[in-house]
Symmetry: C2
């Protein structure tokens, strides 16, 4: 299988995209097509030893910038690198897309070119968070700001399948993010969702709270894309702030500076554990294809790992599993939705 890398999208494009692709091709033997300005990509590739690596270039004359509207990838810039990357998947020349560009545009182009999986109304962006015990998958973290209960139910099913088949969790525990554990808590959206999720055939643990994302209480945390995006950015910001505050304190005295020499390695290991680059990218789940959305400021390691995760997503047949799960659950949960709505109405 071949991965199409949107080489022009990220903050440091195409330098990190090209180097990340070279490293992925070398370390994992994954064939790659770099999509973007041929001349620029040739120049970047010339900096590396690519002998024996299967790296192709596919020209795209346009780029969707971070400040462009997401719909530009669909309407205005039809020859943009992100749009062309999805076209390659559609035509069968590649099987997955990796992009560090405008995430809204990636989502829009993915939906437009590849369409959605049957039974999925809205694809979701799923982000892996490090926890004390392992990892937690949170979705949606940005795609869908105004959701209906049925969307959250679909996110839960998508998260369960991803955790099981890509993260290797045998019986994923699912939680719904809320402002308290009791069923009486939550808002209108979560209360209706909570009632439906109790009847889906997976390990649903009910409401979880903000703190549970990091204590590993569940494997999958479901929320709408507005809340999920706040969670994502807050976590990045807080981890950074904690690090800065500690360094400021340590720099405050000679003795602690000395001591820091000895704990430096511990800090480094910790940083690795919470480093988003380790998780590469966030899968866009629910489209009829595979796409990994990377942080705009991704480094070489993040691109490399995103390519690896895209490869695993394809090899483990996540979309096929998802289609099967939706097939078996769809009727059941549609009935549940109707039952809950009727109960609420009458």
């Amino acid at each position: 299988m071949r991965v199409a890398v949107d080489a022009m999208g990220g903050d440091n494009a195409p330098t990190v995209e090209v180097e990340g692709s070279v490293v992925a091709a070398r370390e994992f033997g994954i064939p790659i097509t770099l999509v973007g300005d041929t001349e620029k990509l040739r120049q970047e590739l010339a900096k590396h030893n690519v002998q024996g690596l299967d790296i192709a270039i596919h020209h795209a004359s346009e780029v969707v910038g971070m400040h462009d509207a997401a719909s530009d990838a669909v309407r205005r810039k039809k020859d943009s690198s992100i749009r062309v990357a999805f076209d390659l998947v559609k035509s069968g020349e590649a099987e997955a897309v990796v992009s560090a560009g405008n995430s809204g545009a990636t989502m829009a182009a993915g939906m437009f070119v590849l369409k959605r999986l049957k039974g999925i109304d809205r694809p979701a962006i799923a982000q892996i968070f490090p926890t004390l015990r392992g990892k937690t998958l949170v979705l949606d973290v940005g795609g869908n700001v105004d959701c209906k209960p049925i969307h959250l139910v679909q996110f839960a099913i998508m998260g369960e399948v991803y955790a099981r088949h890509v993260m290797g969790v045998e019986h994923p525990r699912i939680g719904l993010l809320s402002n308290g554990e009791e069923d009486s808590k939550g808002n209108e959206l979560t209360r209706e969702t909570n009632a439906i999720l109790k009847n889906i055939s997976f390990d649903y643990e009910g409401y979880v709270e903000g703190r549970d994302i990091f204590n590993g209480m569940v494997d999958v945390v479901v929320c709408d894309g507005f809340v999920g995006n706040v969670v994502l950015k807050l976590s990045e910001g807080l981890a950074e702030t904690v690090g800065k505050m500690l360094r400021e304190e340590i720099a405050g005295s000679l003795l602690s500076k000395l001591g820091y020499l000895f704990v430096r390695k511990a800090f480094k290991n910790f940083k690795k554990k919470v480093d988003y680059a380790e998780y590469g990218g966030a899968p866009l789940i629910g489209i009829n294809g595979v796409a990994m959305i990377c942080h705009g400021g991704s480094n070489v390691k993040a691109i490399k790992n995103a390519i690896l995760f895209a490869h695993q997503y394809v090899c483990k047949g996540v979309n096929q599993r998802l289609a099967e799960k939706m097939e078996t659950e769809f009727t059941a949960y549609m009935q549940q939705c109707d039952a809950v709505k009727e109960a609420a109405a009458g």
Copy 2:
């Protein structure tokens, strides 16, 4: 002025409530009435030297537990310590309430007994967060899970007045929590709120993101109580997790354990900076009176500081300022609301 302390509400009641009150009375000379079971409170008080301190006991035969419904404080348990504490404010025997009990019950009792300030539809719980540059006030962090734009606008005005008069920020900068900075981002709720806030006469900076809560970009962050509660609990959880992960790493080798002896003080200072006990409690803003809501697991220091902040809230006439600000802004922002709604409709 006198503070009524709900002595029976918290996880470690009445021990920490009584000791926190004794310390506050001793350090700041604030007169206090402990509300709760007289016999138990006498026993706790007997453990301390209270000579010369103005600490009274007011009997209340019931307690609203953490798992009781919030409305119990209003309907079922009319002689509960939290309800009686507010009754004391209503009758003029005290001027503020401090409670580490069921926060929903505190809010319900506060609204029922003291009513709301003119122009405020929903009181909000405001939490102070430590940042790299100072402090950020976030509201609402739990009271109101389903909000309309007008509620968020009121939260913004309440936050501005609190930041100015209690936190001492001369020109508070207000931000609206969203999933991106651009006006095109946000959900239905924030987009309408954003349009209204631009026309209120204060320093409105527009949308802010999750990371901005900790970088001190604004002084006040406005959000609905569902999102705010997720933010609050996520922050507590993440700060704890980061600490635990670092300690685990440090414990991993003898050398780093040795090094830790030298950086221990830096860790301790850091912990103090992010310690919620330092901020005491979260003011319940918008009721016609003063109440501080403390963490259920509050320690002595948290109770002591909450009593001090309640005292400042009263002394600085926050509610009067708030009433004035609402008076001057109310007409303007109601007109704005109507204009925005008309624009949306037509």
